[in-house]
């Protein structure tokens, strides 16, 4: 302890005052900047890359639990699973062959009609590496980032339907806002009646609420909703949800309609990132995606 003076008994109140004033105002400025501009995005993505080990470590218990399950599953179980998957694979192969024929026929018909051919979408498989701990914020982290040319606003699917969109990208991970988040809405179309609507997330409960549905609109329980492709954010024709509640509110202009997402938002461990070729470039800068993640149609 040589050369150290005796510790002051009290902290200097004035120092504390300056510190809280300075850093408090700085925080407010940062909040404002982060909300209105995209200046802080590079800082955020750089720091996220540094913090990736924390996220990966936090995911370890879940992963090792799965690993232990694998170790203790019996030979018969695994055989059963493999044969099940094999038969499923054959089934899907046959389906895919049919699909290819249909797609080429569809393209030919479209070209006869003179309308633009439907583009083939490329996908990239990503693994879930984290979930936002706040149940109000329906966000997940995936293990693909800049390095895999993920971009802000990129649509994310799973094997059953639309999952959400990328809202933040760092080098090796990105953050995906799920369609069930309150801040998210997606333009949809009812498969049966072609009615165009907007589906907004409800937060907890992972439902979708259809906004501004006329009480005379042709919609009923069990209707399949597809992404309508309006707004150039999501590709056309991917399943979004199934209507499971239609409540005609007498005397009110709009009825309350809820849908259950097709995608297994809380269960899928792998998701697909979609690269649509018809990507609108002015949609891509970070600020627009952040503040207008509520569907691109406005």
């Amino acid at each position: 302890m040589e050369g150290n003076q005796v510790k002051a008994l009290f902290l200097k109140e004035t120092t504390l005052g300056y510190q809280i004033l300075g850093l408090g105002v700085l925080s407010l400025v940062l909040i404002f900047m982060d909300h209105t501009t995209s200046w802080l995005d590079s800082f955020r993505s750089a720091l996220t890359s540094v913090l990736t080990p924390i996220i990966v470590t936090a995911e370890l218990p879940n992963r090792s639990a799965l690993g232990i399950q694998d170790i203790f599953s019996s030979r018969e179980d695994l055989h059963g699973r493999i044969s099940g998957l094999e038969s499923e694979l054959i089934f899907f192969r046959v389906k895919a062959e049919k699909m290819a024929a249909l797609a080429s026929e569809n393209d030919r018909l479209r070209s006869l009609l003179g309308s633009a051919a439907k583009l083939q979408d490329n996908v990239l498989v990503a693994e879930l590496i984290g979930v936002n701990p706040d149940p109000e914020q329906q966000e997940v982290l995936i293990d693909k980032g800049f390095e895999d040319s993920v971009f802000v606003g990129q649509p994310v699917l799973d094997s059953r339907g639309l999952v959400g969109q990328v809202v933040e990208v760092s080098s090796y991970s990105s953050r995906v806002l799920l369609i069930s988040d309150q801040r998210h809405s997606v333009p949809v179309q009812v498969l049966r009646s072609n009615l165009r609507l907007v589906a907004q997330g409800t937060g907890i409960g992972q439902r979708l609420e259809l906004l501004h549905v006329n009480s005379t609109a042709d919609i009923q329980v069990g209707d399949q909703l597809l992404s309508s492709g309006l707004g150039n954010r999501f590709p056309v024709g991917y399943p979004v949800g199934v209507v499971d509640k239609v409540d005609l509110k007498l005397g009110m202009p709009f009825s309350e309609v809820l849908a259950k997402p097709n995608a297994q938002l809380d269960r899928s461990s792998h998701v697909l990132l979609v690269f649509t070729e018809a990507r609108v470039s002015e949609d891509m800068d970070g600020s627009s995606a952040k503040s207008e993640s509520r569907g691109g149609w406005r």
Binding site: K7, E13, I31, M33, H35, R183, R267
Partner: protein
């Protein structure tokens, strides 16, 4: 000695990172998702401990840096946790001598107030940047944090005594 001092800061940061780990760790799938509302703000509790125990080493700037890091980690607006941690740290740093005198459960009551402040500021910022409905669920992390305070206190005190930080 100078080495002691840097090691002290390193230890503090290690505990803060451990707190961050606890705040992003995923709950097992079989538990209901609403249980996530009970997750306390571990980093805030750890910061309060260090400010009370070592006010000359852990202070408002440390709390601010930890807050910005938590903001990036959780994807909240940059500055949200920075702001709330700075305010908590200010209260803790001005009252540290009084808080030290309290028993652990009395401290837990103080912690409830501080963590409640943290939640209110978080809610305030989030309602500025997006739609957000107030519910009393926002206070649950403060309640669980207050109940968990004795364990945090004892663990960190043990750690501090083992590493002979003063």
């Amino acid at each position: 000695m100078a080495g002691d001092k840097t090691w002290g800061i390193v230890t503090i940061w290690i505990t803060i990172f451990a707190g961050m780990l606890l705040s992003v760790i995923r709950m097992p799938q079989f538990l209901p998702v609403e249980l996530g509302f009970l997750r306390p703000d571990w980093v805030a509790m750890i910061l309060v401990y260090w400010i009370i125990a070592l006010p000359h080493r852990a202070g408002i700037p440390l709390a601010w840096l930890a807050g910005i890091t938590v903001d990036v980690l959780l994807g909240s607006p940059i500055g949200q946790h920075g702001l709330s941690y700075v305010l908590i740290a200010y209260v803790a740093a001005s009252l540290y001598q009084r808080i030290r005198m309290f028993s652990v459960w009395q401290q837990a009551i103080i912690l409830f107030a501080l963590l409640g402040l943290n939640q209110v500021i978080g809610f305030w910022v989030e309602s500025i940047v997006g739609p957000k409905n107030w519910s009393f669920w926002y206070f649950l992390p403060a309640v669980s944090g207050a109940f968990l305070w004795p364990s945090v206190f004892l663990i960190l005190r043990y750690l501090r005594r083992r590493t002979r930080m003063a």
